[in-house]
Amino acid sequence: MKLHDVVEILDAKLLIGEDRHRELEVKTAFSADLMSDVLAFAKSGSLILTGLTTPQVVRTASILDAAALIIVRGKIPSGETLQLARELDIPVLSTRYILFETSGRLYANGIVGCVEKIGGTRDGES
């Protein structure tokens, strides 16, 4: 699905991002509030779902070449965090759904986890 579909499904606000970002194709996601876990498991091109709003989340997303950050529970990151996201070209969405609902709605629409479970990979993955 495209990032604009994600915005619609999650009734989200695209806080940072331009028209070209709306057309980004996304297939996978990872949900966590622990950045080391995001680093360990998230794949490039994935959505990162989190309740954290610090600049570190944006830097983590940038390190991994994430497709976009989705901030859950209606939180709005500080101006500093948003400015950094603009600089590093990371789209930021904010949704009022809780992390469980956000993940579930995306999953129900075809987005899958970066990894299914520890020690296993998804079909077709190397």
Partner: protein
């Protein structure tokens, strides 16, 4: 690539505002060098976790990146409290991080473990009250 590339980045302890900037710069350099995507991801993770450890626990440190045709070498050196029990520090989940570090999403005790699992060669040495050194090699061709 015809010539090897080398650059050293200094990292200041306790400066969380800039946490990750050295890593993001290193990632840009590697992208310009057209490093393979998987190698780039591993290197970025290694450098980012290392940078955060210097900021979180040491007074100051350096990260040296050395790239040649076959390998990415990352040397991390800091002046700080050092690590008393390295085996314990390497264990996933072990952490002495402060509440502040945790609020930023770090301090889950997965940093050194992540570094090791992204590395083809990983060496750690530490002297209490002096500092800590990491030597990491990531191969450019192998998986």
């Amino acid at each position: 690539m015809n010539r090897a590339y080398e650059k050293t980045f200094s990292v200041e302890g306790d400066n969380f505002d800039n946490a990750g900037t050295a890593s993001i710069e290193i990632k840009k350099i590697l992208k310009d060098l057209r490093i393979d995507e998987d190698v780039l991801r591993k290197t970025a993770i290694v450098v980012y976790e290392s940078e955060l450890n210097i900021i979180s626990y040491a007074r100051s440190g350096n990260i040296t990146l050395y790239v040649d045709d076959d390998t990415i070498n990352i040397d991390v050196k800091d002046e700080g409290p050092g690590i008393e029990d390295i085996d314990l520090a390497m264990q996933p989940g072990y952490s002495t991080a402060t509440e502040y570090i945790r609020q930023m999403g770090f301090g889950a005790g997965m940093g050194l473990y992540n570094i090791k699992s992204c590395s083809d060669l990983f060496e750690i040495s530490s002297t209490p009250n002096v500092g800590t050194r990491l030597k990491i090699i990531i191969k450019r061709n192998g998986r």
